[in-house]
Amino acid sequence: MNGAQDLGGMMGFGPVVPEPEHEIFHAEWEKTALALTLAAGALGRWNIDTSRHARETLPPAEYLSSSYYEIWIKGLEKLLQQTGLASAEELRGGHSQAAPAPVSPLRAKDVAPMLARGTQYDRPATTPARFAVGDIVQTRNDHPTGHTRLPRYARGRQGTVERVHGVFVFPDSAAHGEGEAPQWLYTIRFEGRELWGPRADPTLMVSVEAWEPYLDAA
């Protein structure tokens, strides 16, 4: 969807402010926000694409005026409601008003193994890749209302296949509970001028990862 999350190429947000390497959190609540997001995610009721979509469907003005951990918290509240784990009233009051869903919470001893395991997103190939390294491709000019991972700035553009990564879970489907629908995934490299026109830095090249349904032969 063309939401506020799709920021590439926007202007007017001001300078980037560096920060020291040891500044990991800026307030105690940020630690809680991180931990709650990971621990609730470990319940297995949603996937990474569902959670990204929950965040990007925040109203644009709210998205842009929230810090990233605030976006996570608002996204988590939405996911808990969507999956029936909690109601709006419960979230408002901070107390349970209904029997909990039967789940197995993440235990402290399982944190390290869970993080080390991660989640593999690649899947066995069942069809040959349509494109090969060096092919010229055209990204589709498509504006789906649901979740997608092709940024607006890279739609309807010509680029070159730089890497073929294999077959991966397709977010446009997985985000909406419509199955993994695995697709070939490529790194597509664009000249800066193809994306940004004649003002672009002539030394600039930008790449995105694009699933095969985002691409046509040029």
């Binding site: 190429g9 202007m11 965040r55 918290i73 944190v111 997103y121 090249m205 930008v206």
Partner: protein, 216 residues
Amino acid sequence: MAHDHHDHSHDHHHGHDHPSELSEIELRVRALQSLLVEKGYVDPAALDELVETYETRIGPRNGARVVAKAWSDPAFLEWLRRDASAAIHSLGFTGRQGEHMVAVENSQDEHNLVVCTLCSCYPWPVLGLPPSWYKTPAYRSRAVIDPRGVLRDFGVELPETTRIRVWDSTAEIRYLVIPRRPDGTEGWDEERLAGLVSRDSMIGTALARRPAEMPA
């Protein structure tokens, strides 16, 4: 610790006029935490463990070890080019948000910069949690259209002839920038080399430190 933030509310109110009051987001997070603990969906001990992991165990010193090894060991560098996930895994860094890794090398002719314009994708096992700026609209909007401007915000000015290569992490592939090894480091061991490798240099918003920039 994650579950007892209310015990420390006096010391984390940046820019607040009334330190005794909790901000709206603090109240919201506290309510959420109470609810999830009461429902049995989260275990406070696991919350603590998660925070401690990213505060003390998984951070950019991991990535610095990867870079130092890449600078020192040609076979490892070759492995990193061929299969970065396996090469990095061999040093013990693997898992969440680093399942599918690609290493990109800076050279005299090309500088690499990593961004996630759509959210905050970042290689956690090697760099830990992303810095705030990495997740801001300012960085995510400009990195792909004005990377030299972004680099200037970090005090980095590259020659006009250096090509800039920006990697927008739109899938589950995660990037680690291998900065150029500074001159004057011949014969340094990996541990000493790792001290030159800042977090930002592995995102691409900085260069590796020169020996003269190291604390004595």
